[in-house]
Structures are given as structure tokens and as C-alpha cells.
Symmetry: C2
Subunit: 329 residues, 2 copies
DNA sequence: GCGGGTCCTGCAAACGTTGGTCAGAAGTTA
DNA sequence: TAACTTCTGACCAACGTTTGCAGGACCCGC
């Protein structure tokens, strides 16, 4: 309590407040006395009272479908890191499922706080819906996987379309006739890695196989791998993420098709285990931690200056390791 | 603002407050009018004002060394899930390094909020320091990896000592003469998986090799694997976590020692990729998500009833897959 | 030594809720 | 129909801070 400090220091409450906020000059003599009293009492300002009167908010909420999967967790880490450096607290709310009540629940919880702003991790279609259900008055920045044209809310994104294109061109460049694709669920139809893969094939004038739709998990990659293994024409596979890639590779090797000698496999994300796989996984590295930092940076600037930030993009990078090779002739 | 709602509904501010808090009965007629006004205006109570006057807090902070590594992220997920269900918001603060200023920074940020309580993820030695620097007045529960005797603060833990013991006995039971161990950094000397491994060897009356000390990462497992591979007497290795295990396996196979035919490897944690490895990894599964839920449950009960909770424990479970086998005769 | 200016300090009013107290209305019983 | 009980609704203080305003102390130059 400010009044206890004031009493111990023998000054008025407002002087203590001024010393602590630092906005108004206070004479060195009183300042020292106040600081001594503060540390003697171990005083901590009451956050509720502060935001009530000053309107200053210093927590930002993160809404995400998941916090465990690598991309989400890494983005969250980046956000937290940047927020902590800037003196903001970050709170999290996961949107459990597609069910409207789960969305409402998460949004309610988030809005029940006194927020400076919010970040939604828009790596999936639920993210898009989440973004829409937040009030317009709240500054919200989205951290997105795929590039998209500027919309009502600012986005920081990873240009995974460019990544998909690059990886596909790389496989084609190795001499493969075409590239198969095991896709993660996509946010919107014409964006993302799948679209990049498609464009690369088209601009190379090459036959485009059907997309094998999967989820995010290795199991689902394994299923896909089984159907791929059954088709002798398959020599190169681009997977929507690294988990899918290891599932695919597992199925392939179990069916006696060697990677990369008979089939090349490329992943996406460059999760920590990717380089430890056997063979070490060639994959498209996405810097999620940096995405998180950037997203928070945009939000903080918005909140502090009042200027709505521009979208920001970063290009993923192909990391060549050993799971892809030229086809056997 | 409550007054806007009151005006629109044609009632007094306190009536609106009564309707919203629900503590005092209000006639159905007015209640409906108020609720209509609330939804028309999209009114949300001001959280700062509420906690200021009522003293009710509904955010819990989580302090952790890391949020990306599997065990931490999964624990966090469990905490968040339970908290959301109970209507609490969770905020996170990572303690970046051993440096005191990083600890202070995180603790300051956490304490700058109006907290109901806090949880520290005590999987490492920094966790125990964090626990110590939180004020005694704040309800704090620790989520710990290793069993420990009851201390000043309540703990929820995973009994990884039992897990380490079981895994070691399993390898011995397969016929291995002894079991080598690649250890993660430990919180305290006589606890955890390493201690379990040691006890299992001792009670089997078997020679105990030196511990190979590693960090948490595959690279460090790889280093360890290299020294293990050079020693022909090594036939079974228990690793402190799954990342270490894959690093070890990679080094082993690179050096021409086949897993599990020549060397058996067992991991710890059962991360999602473990069952997709080749060979699928035999490992000690720890339910971190459940640990998180339990920890939050303890904290919530404490906060709500005022009774300090008892420690709670869960035993990990050995998941037998294909990376361990009887030694060649 | 005095007027004018510069700093500093303290008083008091907010910020948006909650919840206790009290008055008045409605319902019930004799 | 009067008196009594039981609710319902209005008013107001309080929560712990920040900050505009005004007055007090001190310093400088004339």
C-alpha cells in the first residue's frame, strides 16, 4: 500500500507515487527516503489499481489452437521473449476445438482481462475464425503461416508458399520427373506450401499428381506413406511438415523402399529432431521464434504509438540434408 | 461501463451489478432488461476495477525455464487446459538463464500482476531457485520432475526415479550384464532417473559404469553415443530423455553398431516422435499434460479453500517398443 | 530586503466496480 | 383493512493508485 510507504518515509502519498512513476521530479532527499521505505517494506504496486486509474495496460493475450506442437510452441516462445523484454506479461488461451462454445470460452477468458492487445496464432482455419471473433476495438495482430493479402488486421507471416515452391524446384532440379505432396490441412485454398508446390510444378510444366491430404501427425504421414509406397512411379515427396515426413519415411522403409535412394522425402519446419533423423531430413526451415518476436513487435508498436503496423513477411529457407537425392536412372 | 448499461436498461447501477454478480436476487423482469442491455452494448466488466474492489483474483502465473522443450510445453498445456476449465487465466514468464537478473526480471514481471497464485515448473535446478525467490505470501505449487521429500511448498511430481529403476531392471532382465547411462542435468543429487538407474544396478548387485553427463539436446546425446560406441563392452544404454536417445542411436549406427541387435537403447519421456523412430524407441512415458492438470488443481484448491494441498505423485510407465532387445550371446 | 519566478509538495478528485445499509413496495395474515 | 413480513432497488463508501491544481519554500536579481 502506497500509504504505508508514505507514512514510513514521512511524506505524502502523492510524493511516493511520483517517485515510483518517475514522471515528475522529486528532490533527491525525499526520493532516497521513499526508496528506502519501498525496499524496507518490500512494496509492490497493486496492478489492478494502476490500470484502473491510468488505463495503462501491460498484458497481451495469445490465442492459439495448440501450444504443444512445434510451430505453435516456438511462436509462443518468441512472443514471450519479446514481451518480457518490453515489460509486458503474456497470457495464453487455447481454443480447444472447432466447437463454437470452445471458441467463445477462450475469447471470453481473454477479454475478461485488461488487455493492451492480443495475438492470434493463425496457423489453421480455426485461427481465422478466432481472429474474426475478437472485438474491432482491440489491437490484434495475427501470426500466420501463409502469406495473404492485407486484410482488416495486420499480419506477420512466414511465406511458406515461397518455401514450398523452392523445395519443389529443388527436387525437380535433382532430376525427379514430378513431386508428390502430402499436405497438412490448409488455412485457405490458394496459399501456403501446397500452393507453392503446385505453382512450381505448373511453371515447370510437369504433371501434377493428386494431393494426399493428411493431418499434422506422424500417423497420418504413415498412412500417406503406405499409399505412396505402393506406387512405383513415386520418387519424390514433399511433406507439409516434418512429422508427416517421418511418418512417410517410416512407411516407405517398412515397405522396402529406401530413402533417399529410391524415394526422396522433404519436410517442412525443421524441427529440432529433423537433423537427427536417419537419414537427416532435408526440410524447409521456418523461424517460428522470430515470427513470434516480430508479431509482438508489431503489436507493441501499435499499442504504444497508435499507428496500425504494416504486414511483415519472412522467407523460409531450404535446408539440404540427406533425405533427398537424384532419382536412380 | 456499468452506468451505460444501467441507463439503457432504465435501472440503477447496483441493480446491474447484482444481476451480473448473481449474488442477490433480482426480479425476472428487470433481470431480462439488464441482460438485454448488456448484450446490446456488448458490455464487458472492467477486470481491473473488479479485482480492485473485490480482491478476487483469477490469473495464475507459470514460471518456467523454457516453454519449447517437450516436457515443459506439455506441462504448460495441462496447466492451461485445467485453468481454462476453471475460469482462470494463465500467464507465462520464462526465466531465460542462470543469471540473477534474468530471474529477477521474470519474478518482477510475474509479481507485477494481481495473482491468485503461481506455478513453477521445476524440472531443472533453475526451477528450485525460482521457487525460492517467490514471496512466502503467494500460493505457489511446483510441478517437478523428480520425487522429493515434502518441503516448504507443495509439489506435484512425476516419479522419474521409479521410471529409471523400472527401465534399468527391464534391460537387466533382458540379459544385459550392466546398463550404461547418459544423464540429463539433475535438479538434486539423489533423485531422479539417474538415481533410479543407480539403485536398480545396486540392488541387482551389478557393476555400475560411470555416468555420462549430457545436456538435454540430441547433439549432446550424439557426443555421448560416440564414446559409448568406442567401448565394445556397452550393450545397453538408458538415456535421460528421448532427444538424448536419438542422438545416441545416431552416433551408434554411424559407428556401425546396430540398434537393438548390438546395443539396446532406452529413452525417457515418450515424446511424440519416439514411436516413429527407426527402430521405434522403447522409452519411459511420462504424462506431463496430466502433471500440469494436477498441479493446477492443487493450486486452485489451495486458493479457493485456503487449505495447503498435499504433494501428489504419478508413476511413469515403461513403453516397450523395438530399440531394446536381449544382448547377442 | 523584497518582488518575481522556479521547483517541489500535498490535497483531492477521479478510475469502474462491489456490497452494506436503508427505504419503500408488495404480499400475507389476522 | 391494518399490521407485519419479505423482497427489491437506490444510495454511497471503499478498493489503491495517478494526476491536475494550487499553494509553499527557496533562490535570484535589483
Amino acid at each position: 500500500m502506497l500509504s504505508d510507504v508514505a507514512q514510513l518515509a514521512g511524506v505524502s502519498i502523492s510524493t511516493v507515487s511520483r517517485v515510483l512513476t518517475g514522471r515528475t521530479p522529486v528532490s533527491p532527499r525525499l526520493r532516497d527516503k521513499v526508496q528506502a521505505a519501498v525496499s524496507e517494506l518490500g512494496y509492490r504496486p497493486n496492478a489492478a489499481a494502476q490500470t484502473l486509474v491510468s488505463g495503462r495496460r501491460s498484458t497481451v493475450a495469445v490465442l492459439a489452437r495448440n501450444t504443444l506442437r512445434y510451430g505453435y510452441a516456438a511462436t509462443l516462445q518468441g512472443i514471450e521473449e519479446a514481451a518480457r523484454a518490453a515489460g509486458y506479461v503474456v497470457s495464453i488461451a487455447v481454443v480447444e476445438s472447432e466447437a463454437p462454445r470452445d471458441l467463445d470460452r477462450a475469447v471470453d477468458l481473454v477479454l475478461s482481462q485488461s488487455l493492451a492487445g492480443a495475438i492470434v496464432v493463425e496457423f489453421d482455419s480455426l485461427g481465422v475464425r478466432t481472429l474474426e471473433s475478437l472485438p474491432d476495438a482491440l489491437p490484434v495482430v495475427a501470426a500466420a503461416g501463409a502469406r495473404r493479402r492485407p486484410g482488416p488486421r495486420p499480419h506477420a507471416f512466414l511465406d511458406d508458399q515461397a518455401g514450398g515452391e523452392e523445395a519443389t524446384r529443388y527436387l525437380l532440379g535433382l532430376g525427379h520427373r514430378t513431386v508428390h505432396h502430402v499436405a497438412i490441412p490448409s488455412t485457405r485454398p490458394r496459399s501456403g506450401r501446397t500452393w507453392g508446390w503446385r505453382r512450381a510444378l505448373e511453371s515447370a510444366g510437369v504433371e501434377r499428381p493428386d494431393v494426399i491430404q493428411a493431418s499434422y501427425d506422424p500417423d497420418s504421414g504413415y498412412e500417406a506413406g503406405l499409399v505412396l509406397a505402393a506406387d512405383p512411379a513415386v520418387t519424390a515427396v514433399l511433406c507439409g511438415n516434418d512429422e508427416l515426413a517421418i511418418g512417410v519415411m517410416r512407411a516407405l522403409t517398412e515397405q522396402g523402399r529406401r530413402v533417399p535412394e529410391e524415394v526422396s522425402v522433404v519436410g517442412f519446419d525443421d524441427q529440432p529432431f529433423a537433423r537427427m533423423w536417419s537419414p537427416p531430413l532435408t526440410t524447409v526451415a521456418q523461424d517460428f521464434v522470430d515470427l513470434g518476436r516480430r508479431t509482438f513487435g508489431m503489436l507493441a508498436r501499435w499499442v504504444e504509438t497508435g499507428e496500425r503496423p504494416e504486414d511483415s513477411a519472412a522467407k523460409p529457407e531450404l535446408v539440404v540434408r540427406e533425405s533427398a537425392a537424384p532419382p536412380r536412372v
